[in-house]
Symmetry: C2
Subunit: 203 residues, 2 copies
């Protein structure tokens, strides 16, 4: 399927949302799977095991590596909202903010990193944007999960560069737009409506 997208729509990047997180030697193999076998353009990764679980993906210089930061699932706050103490002149903040800071200040040596921040929390998108500067944010949650498009776009905007630094995706709302035999057309309609709403919000 990724091959089909690349052939038919070469301008569309494919992000493999596999959320892997494992020791370096295993991460190397996952990187081979994602980038050589599937030929994805970017992957999502889990930060719980730290930088050596992320580093092997960065050897693929033209690929993106998008770190889970603030996820919009019901249990997303269980760890991500824990308050982490001050350290090395960084004030106390929530764990997802510290992950954003680690990614921006320590892990992003090659400029390939991005962060996942759910659209259901525009205030938190704004906090992450403040920490990470121009780093791209992958923002799920505007479809099935009901995130508001205008406030999402406003919160994620890079100061001075409107329309950059955000990949806002809708998956289930498009994939499952209809259960009947006209599902392809229904999906197309939802995709177009979503695109138009995003364009309007950007303006």
């Amino acid at each position: 399927m990724i091959d089909h997208i690349h052939r038919q729509h070469p301008q569309v990047p494919v992000i493999l949302d596999s959320k892997r997180g494992d020791i370096g030697s295993t991460a190397e193999q996952y990187a081979i799977e994602a980038f050589e076998r599937y030929k994805a353009d970017a992957v999502t990764v889990n930060p719980y095991m730290g930088f050596d679980s992320i580093e092997p993906y960065l050897k693929y210089a033209d690929k993106g590596v998008i770190v889970l930061c603030r996820t919009s699932n019901p249990g997303g706050s269980d760890l991500q909202f824990l308050e982490v103490n001050e350290e090395n002149n960084v004030a106390k903040e929530q764990l997802y903010q510290r992950v954003a800071r680690l990614a921006a200040n320590r892990w992003n040596k090659t400029g390939q990193l991005g962060l996942v921040v759910g659209a259901t929390f525009p205030d938190e998108i704004a906090k992450v944007r403040e920490i990470v500067g121009e780093m791209p944010l992958l923002i799920p949650g505007i479809g099935a999960q009901g995130g508001d498009i205008p406030s999402t776009v406003k919160a994620g905007t890079v100061q001075g560069s409107p329309g950059t630094g955000m990949i806002i995706n809708s998956s289930r709302a498009i994939l499952y737009a209809s259960q009947d035999s006209k599902f392809a057309n229904a999906a197309r309609q939802v995709a177009i409506a979503t695109r138009d709403a995003l364009r309007a919000a950007k303006a």
Copy 2:
């Protein structure tokens, strides 16, 4: 291969160390893969996305679900050693300790949970044991990573029940015991030596 182990050695549990962590609907599918397709006896999971990324596995009542807590890879401390503030009468502690506490006090409603705690840190195994009582600990790191067997066993022992509550594994040291054609025998020798050292430490 799992099928082969179950047929030939039905007393040996198979743990799928897949370290998955995803939203509930995706975790449901991963649970089907691990327990119905592969027929593993337990899986490892990543806690960063919280309880709903763990809960779907618990529907399989006879299976184990082992949560990453303190991992022994070089970047393991990046997040797991962050100091988390006091909350609900719990004193400040490091993130891996808070994960142990969440797992033991809030997530383990069915008694199916365990925790991954690396053998390279006996003091931290002891801290986790103090938090979680009798919960089983999966302890990697005594082989290729050089964790000390006697101090690991001592730190992980459940008070009053020596020899319970620990699954201590060695993977690479056994799998890659030799590169030549006698690799099977070399692996067997390392496995036997490891078993004997564990038995001696338990006594």
